[in-house]
Amino acid sequence: MSAQSRSAAIVGIHEYPSRDVEGRVTPLQIKAESAARALDDAGLTWRDVDAIYDAGEAGPMSGFMISEYFGLKPNVIDTTNVGGSSYEYHAAHAARDIAAGKAKVALLTYGSTAHSNMARIGVGGRGGAALSPGDNMEIFTGMTLVANYAMVARRHMHQYGTTSEQLAEISTATRYHAMRNPQAVQAMKDLEFLDIRETTIADVVNSRMIADPLHLLECCMISDGGGAVVIAAPDVARNCRKQPVWILGSGEATKYPENGGDITTSAAAQSAPQAFGQAGIRPAEIDIAMIYDSFSITVLTLLEDLGFCPKGEGGRWVEGGRLRFDRKDGPALNTDGGGLSSNHPGMRGIFLLIEAARQLRGESTSQVAGARLAVAHGNGGMLGSRHCAGTIILGRD
């Protein structure tokens, strides 16, 4: 094993509890409240923060807008926006900036009122602002977000024999975890899920088809929500309230439609080797897999690309409930209930870091005994066409 760098750690986390704010708070307010609670969690205050990472989801020109709103004068301002994977990029950049001596305490925040705004993230059309060249070639097709992912699933089935029953394993495992998480159960109540209980494979494959071959129970919810993560240098981390969760490795990559390309392989196949290589560990050593579950096929594809199993074997690999937290063969998948059954306000990446940190601290509602290593993998954009991958490897002392 290579000399593992432990130069930055997650020291504070907060997940905003409500998934339906009924229009009573703004995304900016969710960000600020989450930041304050995450700083409390760490035993730090606003004055300790010297680096801000912001995807701009709550307003334009976030580099100065968010600093003013929080009342901070940071030395490092990073406004990377790569959709739902933004927070893995922010964590990677914060670790890099802290290791370089540019900052001591980094603050990442997220806030969204997608549900209150009735944003039809999954089945809306495109349009509006000036089109990119790529969009100008595709605007006429009636593409929906679900259909984009469904086309990956269709090709995966064609190429490797993957079945809907195998894809349903992703949904049943995350719901199994959601039912143990009171926040997730409340979320499903607030969002008026019809049947709030553990699901079976049959439940998933018999649910309504949204875009073939993806069924309703293979699609994430659309909630309100947000959260915050505080990342600090070792000398700060050692004096925080909770045990540090070290950032051991990171990787970034992008992929887009390519003539003759393989849609069943995502940008994660490029980002994961960077992250695992830097951390000096293998996927088989991972206890906790926090993988962006926008749809069932997202997780199946990413499990393969992260290196948990060879390309094309994901369907067979997940069979039999393997991804549940109480199984020995693991890894445990999305132990908070995931975007499928707990929290998806549009850009879920920050929750992957938060639940991974909970597990490595021993605070999860589906706690894996003795969990030592976690991967958080964010996918931003659309898996079947243009998207970004951000992989973060986390470990405890």
Binding site: R120, V123, G124, G125, R126, G127, L131, P133, G134, N136, M137, E138, I139, F140, T141, G142, M143, T144, V146, A147, N148, A150, M151, V152, R154, R155, H158, Q159, R208, M209, I210, A211, D212, P213, L214, P257, E258, N259, G260, G261, I263, G384, S385
Partner: protein
């Protein structure tokens, strides 16, 4: 207010407008580099394979293969919600470009389509341009 018509591409978009201009004559065009042979699609001004940027337009036969597809059953778009269920697909043209399109000429796309099947262009006519949809060959 959004209207209930198919959303159409812009003829003025800097990189792809020339592609759509050619569709007025039902010509399906793509770019290829004179120097390195790279097929460039979507259209743009530079070659993605080398730095020379000597791209020429070529005409595709309109024949290709269905790479993958989905059948959309739920849409809130004012035009497409009246079209469900409809098939959306990535089609690989024989000349190399992969384009996103809809599949026509099937009554039940969920059972009549398979990855790898042959398709051919089926132009949908509009005033200022035509739209390259595809149907089973």
């Amino acid at each position: 207010m959004a209207d209930a018509n198919r959303p159409l591409p812009s003829l003025n978009e800097a990189d792809t407008g020339a592609f759509w201009e050619a569709t007025r004559d039902k010509v399906l065009r793509y770019q290829k580099c004179d120097d390195c042979g790279t097929v460039v699609f979507h259209p743009r001004r530079h070659c993605t394979g080398c730095t020379s940027g000597n791209l020429s337009w070529h005409t595709a036969s309109g024949k290709g293969t269905l790479y993958t597809f989905s059948v959309v059953r739920q849409s809130y778009h004012p035009f497409f919600r009246g079209k469900v269920p409809y098939a959306i697909a990535w089609v690989d043209l024989d000349e190399g470009p992969r384009l996103l399109t809809n599949i026509t000429g099937v009554t039940d796309p969920a059972t009549e389509l398979t990855c790898g099947q042959r398709v051919t262009v089926d132009w949908e006519e509009h005033e200022e341009l035509n739209i390259p949809l595809f149907r089973p060959a």
